[in-house]
Amino acid sequence: MGPGLRKALTLFVFLAPPLAVVTLFFLVPVVLTALLSLTDMHETLRWNFVGLENFRRMLGYDPRVHRIIVNTAIYVPSALAITIGLGLLIALASTSMREGAGILLRTIWFLPNLIPPVVYILLWRWFFDPTRYGFLNAVLALLGQGPRAWLTEYALPIVIVVNALIGASVCMVVFTSAIKSIPPELIMAAQVDGASYLQTVRYVILPLIRWPLMFMTAWHVPAHLNAYVYTLLLTDGGPYYSSEVWALYSYHKAFRYFEYGYGAAISTVLIALNVAAILIVWKVFGLRRMMELGGGE
């Protein structure tokens, strides 16, 4: 057996099982989603190719699409702003206060990430419960006011905040470790020169953590575009599609109305947007830096 063949065989033994699983259960679903988007697949599970009919329906005569695009266009930038802004604020605050207080603050803000999604949503359901058992309404009752249906009145803003807090929790961890890795001499030098805290942040800290900052921003664009599980659990896109976003619409079409073909077409658009997002990040960061940052090293 030649060395080349032997090496190939070794590679095969180590890489074949993981590659087989990834191919079969990740790549095949991508291809199937794309193929299904060209069919009118529904409950009967029969393959019937209809060309680009689903996309024509999406762009032409699906009355809900307009509203959902508007919702998504509000949702993604708002959630992104809160994710990055709040993550940065908590990271800056927790590194500028006493060590003990900083750890307490970070522990609190890590909780949204630690608690399982269904429990996280249960807690928000209680917080906004329309009866007087809900927290906000209990507070209102103490002030002599009647209960309000928060989740109906402010569905989209609430969904944005609830999703964004998860992102902020992740950003907080990443930004904190980036800030902590700044050599303390640099910050002290700025202070000796008479810089205020805000000036130190502006001219020393922010430039030094710009890569993680940019990466997390780029990262959360597709992340928020794809996120729908919390929304599904909290408002189910309602009332009357007022908090329905693109990714959730695909889920609803496929698994609530069993229009798998149309749902797959909506997903395909999502996948295309994701690929575009990756390519942009790739161009901006370069592969090596992207993997370094993505690997969190």
């Binding site: 269904v118 429990v119 949503i121 996120a227 729908y228 889920y251 999502l270 592969l287 969190g296």
Partner: protein, 275 residues
Amino acid sequence: MGRVLRYLAYAAIALMSLPIVIMVAFLVVASFSTRLTMGLVPAGLTLENWSFLWAPIPWGLGREYVWPTLANTLMYAGGSTVLRVLLVTLAGYAVSRISFRGRLFVLAFQMVGRVVPGAGLLIGMYFTLYYLGLLFTIPGVVLIRTAMGIPMAIWIMKGFFDGIPWELEWAAMVDGCSRLQLWRRVLLPLVRPGIAAVAVFAFMEAWEDFIYVYVLLPGETKVMSVLIQRLIATEVIDYPFLAAMSLFYTIPPLVFYVLTQKHLVRVTLVGGVKR
């Protein structure tokens, strides 16, 4: 002026943190209360909410024990952990040690795997499992979840394999070890911390999982997350009872967090966003 601004900022942050603190306090307090008044004040203390641990809970028209659900959850989380660790220790070694042309591709793939919407592929996954005869089975969801999780985990494992000196391998090879023997006998014991990290991550991900088990498992094969979701989706939510069950369900992640707090920060950093 600077100091006033700083205290104002701290006050604002404290105010923003308040909902999280209140909600977590609610989870603990409500689980031991008969009911809550004025938001967070228990009307009376009881252990009745925890009775799901020893008595059947109302379910549909009858009553059901929670234990089969717990067993399903453990089977799903345990299966995901074992499979992911096995595949990733193989691939992590190959990616770390063997130079070949597709290596960069494998690494780049892990990036793509993290960004492409897992949940958006649910339709494709549903049909893949359907044609393989694995739809509505626990092994089916385990395989789907593993395929999504391994690109990331390979990256973590590679880091641990990178840390082992080459000399050790040469010595073993001179002694006549094959690559596979070398991997099993020499390297695996050395990357135990990496295996632990990957295992904890895989277990937690599956334990907390909702959307995949919700769509890819049938109604009879309930797991904890789906059970809690179904109990939330009723006309009148029984908060104290649900708080107790949710707290019980949250204990494993909490315990793992406390035990591995130092390491977890790094792992979370690496793990990025869970969706």
